[in-house]
């Protein structure tokens, strides 16, 4: 990047707000999808909406592509930089701007870490419900970009149901203030449309989120199975019985072993083929009325033991194991490919078995840990990226899993987004006409196609995307 441009950006953002030294840029080459890498021309770190807007006006003038990045925990390559482009990071926008206890909302800067928001509001008897496994690192802005989920989204819904307002910096540096929380949008639902747009509509700098009252009682159960299929069937039965716990999560044997050998050890029995982690919340009566039939279902499906967390510490430990599962898999191999697909909840057993078969045929190590209640599978493949043949087999397995899932009525992604990883598979789910409609809407937000270009929609799908100007 030209020196004068760096200096101009520094004039807006300060010296600490612009990174352009090659060695420091290394850290921004990829997000959680380490298979895909591209060094950005520079990284900028605004502290306020105004700084972000002023910097974006400069980048607009120079026609430089821009990629937004929260904490870089995304797993679909949504924050992979583009060649010659600038990465906008939100690591210096970490303020909780307002907590409105009476109306149960908070206004935060985009870089606030997910779990920090709950920590900031829990003294008011409130919490922020979407809880991705990476919640100790991922940001609210990133969650908005990807419409992130998490275990408790089974009851509370994904990010989109919790976003009341946004302040957005547009492609040209103009600021769109949609932050006033309203029951229903006036005009089109721009906020709802923006959530999950993977950074291709604008940069959310301030976010108004809905907060949820902390439940009076929370109970966590661990049902232990000697058969993964049986655990899947127990979840399908629970859904068919119209039960509404707050989370239904499954971990298989390989995951359990990795977790138990790690710092996240939760006390899961190593000999189990699967564990089902169940949580219910609400009044004491409600929790008992939800868990009693769930226990019966688990027993009917062959659970050999059902343990109840006896204290908040024990409950936290059980969840730490679940949320640390991806990290724990580092013990199996140096790299981890986290797949993310959704299946109809009546077909859990069938599609988990299919994923396992595909991995076995490709001679890969597959561990399952997933949001079973939502039908959101995470077949995780451990591999070594230095082994080119293994990388090839991982990608082949991922392709096959996506194809069988879509053929069974499922979808490409439940919470990680399409990004670069699944772009070419969009045509399995959507026709060209569907994607052209998406492109037309995107074109209204970003006519030059400079925001996170080359993501989500396959380039051949629409003329609007092909018209994107090349970076200088």
């Amino acid at each position: 990047m030209k020196r004068e441009l760096i200096d101009e950006l520094r004039g807006v953002l300060g010296a600490a707000g612009v990174i352009h030294e090659p060695a420091r840029l290394l850290a921004y080459e990829c997000d959680g999808l380490a298979l895909l890498r591209q060094r950005p021309a520079a990284v900028i770190l605004p502290r306020t909406t105004d700084e972000c807007a002023r910097a974006m006006r400069i980048l607009h003038r120079e026609k430089i592509p821009v990629v937004g990045r929260g904490a870089g925990t995304g797993l679909s390559g949504g924050a992979t930089p583009v060649e010659g482009g600038v990465l906008v990071g939100f690591a210096r926008m970490r303020d909780v701007l307002e907590v409105n206890v009476a109306d149960q909302y908070a206004r935060v800067q985009a870089g606030v870490v997910n779990v920090d928001l709950t920590l900031a509001v829990e003294k008011h008897g409130l919490f922020y419900a979407p809880d991705p496994s990476s919640q100790a690192a991922c940001t609210i802005g990133g969650n908005v970009g990807e419409n992130s989920g998490g275990p408790h989204c089974f009851k509370h819904g994904a990010t989109t149901r919790h976003i009341l307002g946004l302040v957005i910096v547009r492609d040209d540096g103009s600021v769109l203030d949609l932050s006033l929380p309203q029951a229903d949008p006036l005009g089109y639902d721009l906020v709802g449309l923006f959530v999950g747009s993977e950074g291709m509509f604008g940069l959310a700098t301030e976010i108004t989120v809905r907060l949820v009252p902390t439940p009076a009682v929370t109970e966590t159960l661990l049902a232990i199975f000697t058969d993964l299929d049986a655990a899947c069937d127990a979840v399908s039965d629970a859904i068919a019985a119209r039960l509404e716990p707050s989370a239904l999560e499954i971990l298989d044997r390989l995951t359990i072993q990795a977790v138990e050998a790690s710092v996240f050890a939760a006390g899961y029995p190593r000999e189990a083929e699967a564990v089902l982690l169940v949580e219910a919340e609400g009044s004491e009566v409600e929790v008992e009325a939800t868990l009693a039939p769930l226990r019966a279902i688990a027993q009917r499906r062959g659970a050999i033991d059902i343990r109840r967390a006896r204290s908040a510490t024990e409950r936290k430990k059980l969840w730490a194991g679940r949320k640390g599962a991806f990290g724990a898999m580092g013990r199996i191999a140096p790299d981890l490919y986290v797949a993310d697909v959704v299946v109809p909840r009546t077909k859990l057993r069938e599609l988990v078995a299919e994923s396992t078969r595909i991995a076995r045929e490709k001679r890969l190590k597959l561990a399952n840990v997933f949001h079973a209640g939502d039908g959101n599978l995470h077949p995780n493949i451990s591999y070594d990226r230095r082994d080119a043949d293994e990388v090839k087999r991982v990608l082949e397995a991922s392709d096959e899993i996506m194809k069988v899932v879509v053929a069974a009525g499922g979808s490409l992604t439940g919470e990680h987004g399409v990004g670069l990883e699944k772009q070419e598979f969009m045509s399995l789910v959507f026709g060209d006409d569907d994607m052209r409609a998406m492109c037309r809407v995107r074109n209204a937000w970003d006519p030059q196609g400079r925001l996170n270009p080359g993501k989500l929609i396959p380039v051949h799908a629409c003329r609007e995307m092909r018209g994107t100007e090349r970076p200088r």
């Binding site: 819904g157 029951a183 709802g192 009546t346 569907d434 209204a444 937000w445």
Partner: protein, 421 residues
């Protein structure tokens, strides 16, 4: 043969017999084409695009008077013949139906699979799911379940190019592609014709109660509602209606039987002298109350006022005072949990200009409290210089750009939604 006869002949060649209908009481009847399939819908839209005709998409027509009357419309496109259940998987808690299916039939279908349909809209026999989604109409059960847009998993929508396009899907969790269904939901058909809707369903309650109590004045009623809302009970809906000499509060409870019984005990401790109806009686009472509280049965202009819950106790008396000052009489209902007030302008504003002046003045007064005022069922003369949806929304230019990109020729009778969209 008039040009209207020629048009009707061309429409009939696609969809069969054409009737005529008034999109609003105060305009002339227009040809109404009711396609029997998505393909016929596409063909009608292609005809309109090619011949530069303007279409007004309608479901059952119950919410057309929420909008401004469009300047020119060539024909109405009704989804009333699109009634198929495309897919219903009770054990997955999802259903996909064509847009013309009535809310009553849809709720009944969901119930047969052990599910409750939200939104529980007023007068369901007069509404289709497509119309409810297109208008973004939520029910009084929004307190428990949230707005309708949260439960639309996906849509199939015919755009101005005459192509049926999908967004979202039929799964309870899915982030594949941009969520265009969020854009179509609440757009009043100004971006396309919604022909298919996929919904998330909720468990049919095991037990249901309606708890009511009387209060002498509004302040007391609001105080009682605040106490009810501070309980751990997950109240489904909570309404306050003006009745002879005072106000009536009504709360709906449903779910698993032991949970509902525990919630009943909590509420009774909070509301002295409450009366209770249970089961089927409770449901029919709630359905009737929903129509009254939402003023869906009103032949008069109505106002929907929305604010943040914490402002309700300031906003409601301000509205009451403004109505009294303007000598406006009519029903007055509140939904404290979702901070919405519905006001009927039954008398006191017979002149359109007077109504417009009153609404402008009320908007100015309530703007200080971040409250919005929408005007529904207003005579077209009142809407000459008044936007029925509210004052200018931020992002209106962007909304116009989205509309231009999806419907460059204004095939879907643009100009009738907020800000001339």
């Amino acid at each position: 043969m008039t040009s209207l006869d020629v048009l009707e002949g061309r429409l009939a060649a696609i969809v069969g017999p054409i009737s005529r209908a008034k999109p609003r009481l105060d305009v002339e009847p227009l040809p109404l084409a009711a396609p029997r399939s998505v393909e016929e819908t596409c063909e009608l839209v292609r005809l309109a695009t090619t011949d530069k005709l303007r279409i007004l998409p309608v479901g059952r027509g119950s919410k057309l008077a929420w909008c401004t009357t469009p300047g020119h419309v060539d024909f109405l496109l009704s989804t009333r013949n699109l009634q198929r259940v495309v897919s219903h998987v009770p054990d997955d808690g999802t259903i996909t139906v064509e847009a013309g299916l009535g809310m009553e039939e849809l709720a009944s279908r969901c119930r047969s699979g052990g599910h409750f349909l939200t939104p529980d809209v007023p007068l369901p026999a007069q509404r289709s799911i497509g119309g409810v989604v297109a208008a973004g109409e939520s029910g009084t059960d929004r307190l428990r379940f949230g707005p309708v847009r949260h439960h639309v998993l996906g849509t199939r929508t015919v755009l101005a190019n005459g192509l049926a396009t999908r967004s979202g899907g039929q799964l309870v969790k899915n982030v594949t592609g941009f969520d265009l269904q969020r854009l179509y939901c609440g757009s009043h058909g100004t971006l396309g014709v919604i022909v298919e809707v996929s919904l998330r369903l909720f468990p049919e309650p095991e037990h249901e109660l309606r708890v009511t109590c009387r209060s002498s004045d509004l302040a007391d009623a609001l105080s009682l509602s605040r106490k009810a809302l501070s309980l751990p009970a997950r109240i489904v809906s909570l309404g306050i209606e003006r009745v002879d000499g005072g106000f009536e509060l009504a709360a709906r409870l449903f779910g698993l039987r032991p949970v509902v019984e525990a919630e009943r005990a909590q509420l009774l401790a909070t509301w002295p002298r409450a009366t209770i109806v249970e089961g089927a009686l409770a449901r029919s009472a709630c359905t009737a109350a929903s129509a009254r509280q939402r003023l869906a049965d009103s032949p008069h202009p109505t106002l929907r006022i929305a604010c943040m819950p914490s402002r309700l106790e300031v906003v409601a008396p301000l509205v009451q005072r403004a109505l009294a000052d303007a000598r406006i009489a009519g029903r007055f209902a509140l939904q404290p949990g979702i901070a919405e007030l519905d006001v009927e302008v039954a008398s006191g504003c017979s002149e359109s200009a007077t109504l417009a002046t009153f609404v402008r003045s009320l908007r100015a007064t309530l703007a200080k409290h971040s409250a919005t005022v929408a005007l529904r069922n207003a005579p077209r003369t009142a809407l000459v210089e008044l936007d029925p949806f509210g004052e200018r929304a931020p992002g209106l230019e962007l909304m116009r750009a989205i509309q231009r990109n999806l419907d460059p020729d204004g095939v879907f009778a643009t100009g009738r939604f907020h800000g001339g969209l």
